[in-house]
């Protein structure tokens, strides 16, 4: 087995382990709660009988490890349990919304990743130029804006003052792709603005770091022109850092999604999660959290594997 395959398998195993650990943390969070969750959720006025019945429904009368295994078994077969508030099956609640959230996040990522990487590289190459300074101030401001601030500004400008795009991102049954892209334009733009700024700054930093390497100077001293320096000497070594930057910024994307969905009343997973937190519907929150965290870990894992697979020093061993 080649070392690189072994390394990738190692990462996969590590990723699996962190998935298990994260599921454990999400499960345990409830256990660590001081006091009785059933009492907490039902309130002080609940009778002991209802509390006991509720406990039994939650399975709280069983030992924690058994419940964890049971819960995890359910999760693996797509059974996330039932909502405390409505009694509905969580799996079916999540599936549809999850698709919508993925669509929105994917929409934003498809625009912001190429945009951020391009702008980041340009800012790094023209370091300390006017362009770089403007971009620096703009991105610093942009990451300082709360997501909902950006969202409402966009609504005010593009939905109220000049009514071009809808401020409520809901689409009926079977919308066309164009229709979906149109109706989710504002939330996607909000995410793009926030995420691009973060991602761009990090891309810039990693490219600057790269351009300071002696082999870049060597290329210049061999008479290699600026374009070729970047394409042939910098880029092959920049892949791994850029992939990592993209992965790191997924966290901002997820945070952004939760808030943007609320602002635009978009029926995604984030909206469901926020509603459930307010209702203290713990099982639903757990489910949403698990799905988000799972995706996050998997994408990070993918980035990890990709950066191993593009590292020349690992690809060609001694």
């Amino acid at each position: 087995m080649s070392p690189i395959v072994r390394m990738i398998l190692g990462r996969l195993a590590l990723g699996l382990l962190s998935l298990v650990l994260v599921s454990l943390v999400i499960f345990m969070a409830v256990e660590l709660l001081p006091g009785d969750i059933a009492q907490e959720v039902l309130g002080q006025s609940a009778t002991p009988e209802t509390v006991a019945a509720f406990r039994a429904e939650l399975g709280l009368d069983q030992a924690a490890p058994i419940r964890y295994v049971h819960w995890l078994g359910g999760v693996l077969t797509g059974d996330l349990g039932n909502s405390l508030a409505t009694g509905r099956d969580i799996g079916s609640m999540i599936v549809d919304r999850f698709g919508k959230t993925l669509f929105l996040a994917g929409y934003a990522a498809a625009i912001s990743v190429p945009l951020a990487v391009t702008l980041g590289i340009l800012a790094a190459l023209y370091r300390n130029s006017i362009f770089d300074r403007i971009v620096n101030v703009a991105t610093l401001s942009s990451i300082s804006f709360p997501e909902y601030f950006v969202a409402y500004i966009l609504i005010l400008l593009l939905s109220i003052n000049t009514p071009v795009f809808p401020s409520i991102a809901d689409f009926g049954r079977d919308p066309s792709l164009g229709d979906m892209l149109y109706r989710t334009f504002l939330p996607a733009m909000t995410l793009v603005l926030v995420v691009t700024a973060h991602m761009m700054r990090m891309t810039r930093a990693s490219i600057i770091n790269l351009m300071a390497q002696p082999y870049i100077e060597m290329a210049r001293l061999k008479g290699v022109g600026p374009a070729r320096v970047i394409l042939r000497h910098a880029l092959p070594n920049a892949l791994a850092p850029i992939i990592n930057v993209v992965a790191l910024n997924l966290a901002y994307l997820i945070t952004g999604v939760v808030i943007v969905e609320v602002v635009f009343v978009y029926p995604g997973l984030g909206q469901l999660m926020v509603d459930s937190v307010a209702k203290r519907d713990i099982t639903v929150v757990q489910g949403c959290c698990l799905v988000f965290a799972g995706i996050y870990i998997l994408l990070n894992l993918l980035a990890d594997v990709l950066s191993i697979a593009t590292n020349p020093q690992l690809l060609h061993r001694k």
Binding site: S141, Y148, I259, V285
Partner: protein, 274 residues
Amino acid sequence: MRTLRLLSSAPPTALFGMTVIALYALVVILAPWIAPHGQTEIVGLEFEPWGGDYVLGTDNLGRDMLSRMIYGIRNSVTIALLTTLLSFALGSVLGLLAATLGGWIDQVLSRLVDVLMAIPAILFALLLLTITGTGIAQMIAIIAVLEATRVFRLTRATAMNVSVMDFVEAARLRGEGTGWIIRREILPNITSPLIAEFGLRFCFVFLAISALSFLGLGIQPPTADLGAMVRDNAALITFGDMVPLLPAAAIALLTIAVNFVVDWMLHRASGLKS
């Protein structure tokens, strides 16, 4: 004198940032004296427009918007500052210990932080808030712990860079204890990155708390809070009114200011090195 020279070398963005921070500090300290009305006091009708009796109009319950803004800044900034301090107390102490002691302590703490960081902070916060219920104390504790993981990472990494230096080895060979090594050898050499990190952490905390409040899961009514004020008055935006954007702008302004100052500090630090 040195301070003056330092300030004169600051770029306009950093000067702007410092001015804004100073203004906010004044508002935080002087809120009860400069606010025309109380933060929960109902002074007029709902949604009264700007100008007239009330400079910024009234909110959805007929409270004076300007007074709410002033108190909102005071409350949000104080809570964010408190949370940041807490996360630093936790994260930096553990980070220093992990870097200095190494061994299994470092392993255990680092792996724990890895797991906590494998879940995006806001999701984790939502999960924990569901369990604990909403409230200022819970929120402070939760955000502080989650941000402490980031502080831990940075402190550990910078302290590690210092702890491999020969002067730290020299102190170890001399027989110095962990306390001395942390306080006298390592800490003085990582203060500037830690101060910069404090600024950045404050921004994150400030944004996270206001986001939770915006979602209705943070600071609870009737306490004035910038995030919640946006939510309460969001309906006005459909009428093209900018008032709900003011509290959000107040948040953005302070975070921009802090970011500008931190950016300058980091730039200075990296410039001096090379």
